[in-house]
Symmetry: C2
Subunit: 378 residues, 2 copies
Amino acid sequence: MGRNIPYDIKYYIFSQDKSFELESGKKFGPITVAYETYGTLNEQKNNAILLIHALTGDTHVTSDYDKDDKTPGWWDTAVGKGKAIDTEKYFVICSNCFAGCMGTTGPASTNPDTDKPYGLEFPLTTVRDMVSVQKQLIDFLGIKKLKCIMGGSLGGMQVLEWSVLYPQMLESAIVIASAYKTSPQIIAFGEVGRNAIMADPNFKNGNYYDGAPPEKGLAIARMAAHITYLSRDSMEAKFGRDIKKDLKESDEMYGFFGPMFQVESYLRYQGRKFVQRFDANSYLYITKAMDLYDVTSGKNNLTEVINKVQCRMLVISFESDWHFRPSESWEIVKAMMNKGKEISYVNINSPYGHDAFLIKNVEMEKVISSFINTKRDK
Amino acid sequence: MGRNIPYDIKYYIFSQDKSFELESGKKFGPITVAYETYGTLNEQKNNAILLIHALTGDTHVTSDYDKDDKTPGWWDTAVGKGKAIDTEKYFVICSNCFAGCMGTTGPASTNPDTDKPYGLEFPLTTVRDMVSVQKQLIDFLGIKKLKCIMGGSLGGMQVLEWSVLYPQMLESAIVIASAYKTSPQIIAFGEVGRNAIMADPNFKNGNYYDGAPPEKGLAIARMAAHITYLSRDSMEAKFGRDIKKDLKESDEMYGFFGPMFQVESYLRYQGRKFVQRFDANSYLYITKAMDLYDVTSGKNNLTEVINKVQCRMLVISFESDWHFRPSESWEIVKAMMNKGKEISYVNINSPYGHDAFLIKNVEMEKVISSFINTKRDK
C-alpha cells in the first residue's frame, strides 16, 4: 500500500459503502478494492480496457511509467506507451482480485466483527464473486462499456464469466491460455498445494497472522504448481539434467537431499520467492475458486451459456500449454461458432507452456493489438 | 517379515556375509535382501525370470499361490500359473530393492555401528547399486544366466542397467514404461515430494523412528507423484468434476478446504493408504535414485553404452504415459537399432498413463508372453 506513486500511475483503493451478495448467497462487505490505472480515461469513457491478472498476480501491470520502478509489471512486455496494449490510446485498469492479498479485501484483511484477520472465516470465493467485485469498480469509475476486457489463465476465466454475466458492458473480450472449467488434473495439483499448506504446523487452521506463516507449505504448493506452468520441453531446454554448479560431486552429490539438479534449485528458489509476496490463505481461496470454476455451473450446456455473449471475442492458446490446453480453448471457440458469434482463435506455437502469455511474444502482441484496434461499423 | 508362507511361495531373506562397493565408491554392508519366488527352478537353472518392482513396489508379485492371500500381488494380472509370465514354466524371482522398506536393507534398518536406524546416515543409493545387489542374489541362487529380466518404470531402468552392466547374464530383457534417464520434469516432481517430506516437523532430519513418522509430508509426496501416474484423459473419465457424494453443497461446499471433488478425495485416500506401507526415508532415497539415473552417466553417448547389450530386448511404452513418455522408450529402441541389436518395440494405446503396465492389459501380456517364449537356434 505504501507504493510511491508517480504522476501518471494511479494506485487506488476503492472502498464500497455497502455489502454485496456472493455467489453462495451470503452477504459480505463492505470491502476495499486495490487497482492501478495507466493512461487516461477519455471524456466519452469509451477507451477503457480491464486487464485481469492470473492466479497470484497483482495490480502492477507495467513499470513503463516509472523509470525508478524496481518491480517490473506482470505484463511489461505487452502493456505501455506504444506497446501492443497502448496506454497512450487506452485507459488500462487492473484490480487485485477479491480474496487476494495485494490490496483488495481477502483472508488477511481485518474482520470488522472480530478486529482480527478473517483467516478461514473469509467466505469461500468464486470466479463470479471476483467478477462481481470488478463490476462494482467499473461502475464506480463511471464506465458503461469496456473497450476490451482481457486476461490469462484464471484471468481468462474471469473474462469468460464477464462475457456471459455482463455481456452488454463489453465491446470485446480476450481469453488467453484459459478454459471454461478446470480439469480434474489441475484440480488435483491444486489439492496437493492446499494440502501442503494445511499440513504446515504454522498454518494453525488459518490463524497464523500473529506468528510465523506456513511458508514451507506455501513454497511446496508453489513448486508443484510451477511445474504445470512450464512445458516439458522448456524444462528440458532450460535445465536438462544440469547439476547445480556450486556443489562438489565428491562430497555433496552423494550425501544429502538438498538441491542437486539445477531444476531442483530453481524450483526451491521459486518457492522461496513466492512466500515473500503471497499469503497462504489467499492461495487456498484463489486456487479453490479456480478449481470450482465452470462457466456452465456443472450443467454442461456450454453452447447455451455462450449464447449470452454479445461482444466479439479472441481466444489465444499456446501449443505447449498443458495447464489449460489448446483443446480447452477450442471448446470455447467451438461453442461461439455454434452460436454464430464473432470469434477469432489463435493457437500460438510457443515452447513456454502455460507461462507463455507472460513472456515476450511478438505474435501474441500483434494478434492482441490488431484485435483491439479493429474498427467496426455498428 | 511375518508373512504366512504357503508351501510353494518362498519368501526369503538372503544375508550377505561381507560388504560390497557402492557406485559412489563407498563400502557398505553386509546387507540382507528380501525376495519371493514363484514356480520351480529347473535343474539346469535356466528358467529363471527376474522381475524388478517399480518405485514403491515389493517382493509380492502374485497372490496366485495362496487362496487366502488378502494382499494381491503387484502383478497378479500378468504373473502366475498359466498366465503371461507362466510360473508353471518359469521360476520367477522378485527382490525388494536396496534402500527399500519391504525387507531389504534400507534407511529404516538398524545401523550396526550405532544400533539405531540408519536414517539419513544410509548411503545415497543409485540404480546401479540396486542392480548390483540383485546380481549378488542371482549369484547366491546359483543362476548363471537369466531367461529373462523385466520391470516397469524404475524397474525398467534397472533392467536397462543390468543389460549394460551384466550383459552376459541375460538371455532377454523387457523394459516397460521406462527411460534411460529421468527428465527434468519428473525430477521436479520428485523434488516437490522430497521437500514435502523434509518440511514435515515429524521428519527430524530422518530420525523419526522412535516417534511419529512424517506421514503428512509423505502423503503429499505421494499425491503429487500419483498425478503423474495417471493420464489426463483417464482422470477425466474416472473423476471428471464429480463432487464427493457425502457432502452437502449447502453447508460444506462453501465453507472449508476439505475434499470436495472426487479427484481430491481420491488423491487424499492414495496419500493416506501409502503412508501405512511406506517409509519416508526410503521414499527419499529411492526417488533420488530414479532422478539420478542416466545409463550414460551424463556422457550422452547412449548408442555407445547400448552397444554393451548382448541379449534381445523388448521395449514397451504406453501412448498416454507422460511420466516416461513413448518418445523416451523410443530413444532406447533407436540406440539398439543403430547398433544392429535385436530389439522389439510396442507402443500400446492404453488410456491409463504410466500406471497402464500394472493394469490388466491383454495386448501387453500377449507381447510379453510371446517374447519370453520365443525359441532361437543359437
